[in-house]
Symmetry: C2
Subunit: 319 residues, 2 copies
């Protein structure tokens, strides 16, 4: 494949797909832009959950069993924090804490989130470029039936139980794309844009809410491919399907196609959704069917290859 690939990514599912892209592309051909709407401050630490998930996925540190965080984790600090009366709703593993500590003090010393992220990636042996969507503060909030909840409160403390009414990306209106994101969007050799299988509302929309990003994606000449996070009417992980229902959208691949309609050329759907391919194409998006459940590294690489092939074929571009 020639040319550069830009991937937009959220947490777990998206990170797996991003790891697949990193496995099949030369590192200098890949920029992974990560949602920071989930970022928050907790007992004085600056935590970027999606960036960490991507860093762990690409460095092979992810805990496959738990489904989040670092493998071989321990909770000694957390036990003492409990004894000292500190909040327990957000789990801080001993190994994971190192990321938060390193990020927090570097940000406080004046480094940008972009600078911190690319250095942490390098330290973890990751060669591909990983960048936050923005170095400016954007905070996703979920308006629920009861009240507005900051994202991590909704997602972790409330376990997505409150019924969502709307989602806001506070600060997005004045945020600027990170330098690496801007650069990738305007590269002359941009060969494909990939929207990873992440929650469209909670992980990808915050990225699209950064001023200029949506317009740029609409007019980009490179093929744009999304991988559906919804498989057979369900999200493999996370609240995407529940949330879509609450927002009045049918939780299926057609809704995903409709959601991204002006931004993508191709939607990759799982084989179990093959019967819906016609409905997806009726929306004006080409449907490509592939095994979209990623259990192993081989699955991730295979899905990445399918998505890259779909990009190549969609516009006859030499990528």
């Amino acid at each position: 494949m020639e040319g550069h690939v830009l991937a937009l990514c959220g947490g777990v599912g998206g990170a797996k797909f991003a790891a697949g892209l990193a496995a099949v592309l030369p590192p200098e051909q890949l920029t992974i832009v990560v949602n920071t709407g989930d970022d928050f401050e907790h007992i004085g630490l600056s935590i970027s959950p999606d960036i960490d998930t991507v860093l762990y996925a690409l460095s092979g540190l992810s805990d496959a069993v738990r489904g989040w965080g670092v493998a071989d984790e321990s909770w000694r600090c957390m036990e003492m924090l409990e004894r000292l009366g500190e909040p327990q709703w957000f789990m801080l593993g001993d190994r994971d804490l190192a990321m938060h500590l390193a990020r927090t003090h570097r940000l406080r010393a004046g480094e940008t989130l972009s600078g911190v992220t690319s250095d942490l990636a390098l330290r973890l042996g990751i060669a591909a470029a990983i960048a936050p969507m923005s170095d400016d503060r954007v905070r996703t909030e979920v308006d629920t039936e009861q009240c507005a909840l900051p994202f991590q409160r909704y997602f972790v403390a409330e376990q997505c139980k409150p019924v969502a009414r709307a989602i806001r990306y506070v600060g997005a209106e004045v945020a600027r794309p990170s330098p690496a994101f801007s650069a990738a969007l305007t590269r002359r050799d941009l060969a494909a844009v990939m929207i990873c299988p992440s929650n469209p509302y909670l992980s990808i929309d915050p990225i699209l809410a950064v001023p200029g990003v949506r317009a740029q994606l609409e007019r980009v000449r490179a093929p744009r491919v999304a991988v559906s996070p919804i498989i057979a009417g369900k999200a493999l992980k996370g609240p995407a399907a529940k949330l879509m229902g609450e927002l009045g959208v049918e939780p299926d691949v057609v809704s995903v196609a409709r959601h991204y309609r002006e931004l993508i050329d191709v939607l990759i759907i799982d084989e179990s959704d093959a019967a819906r391919a016609g409905d997806v194409e009726a929306v004006g998006v080409k449907a490509v069917t592939a095994p979209a459940i990623m259990r192993t590294a081989a699955d991730r690489a295979a899905l990445a290859r399918e998505a890259l092939a779909a990009a190549r074929q969609s516009k006859g571009v030499a990528v």
Copy 2:
């Protein structure tokens, strides 16, 4: 014993003696004021080594084998911090980290070091009052032959190897005693002041450098007892003896007596220094001989009882 006891304390040796006092006195009769000249900021954390040492000693969490920090410690976060390129010269145990995290974010939220310290003590089940010498920033610096070193750099990173020329307590001139320290100094029922067996220059002098403290101690009517940190010409732990030599003072109990002369009535010296009792008294300080090496909880309590008895006898005060 009636009346209140005020103890001035540094790290390891002093903390053991303070734990002895806590073991033999009702908690409401004891205020332990701790040196904060060693405090420093490390990868964004506000670390108070002597306060932590006292908290661990009084809560039974100290690591007796290692001689510092928390028992049953692990180093998972530290390993990741190394991988992320963070400095390794100061050891951050997983359990110990909880103290630094709790302190740092509470200070940043506007709590005083006094408030944070007394809450952490309470959480760890400590009933006696533990207070920093000041809520204001005081930072001990050691002028060495090469350059001026912040205390932790000198103590931990350089392992006290550079030759010391002078010691400064930066910020002390404008620091105020903490509220609990001021209150204890002026209590009408003050029955004894104890100077714990801590380094006179690095642990006790910073406390005495807080404006008003020295004058108050000179005129206090309660008996004042110091326990010598120098035993048979050596410090049990730490650089006291080496430092005294470099500062042109003989490292022995007589020098300790001379150092504290105007501030103490009694100096407790170890049995191995019994032959120097006359020399100590020639300085104008009463010498009391007792086993001053604290290996067990029983040793600590016995030495505390000896010191309290010495206080009672020194001025005929009913303490």
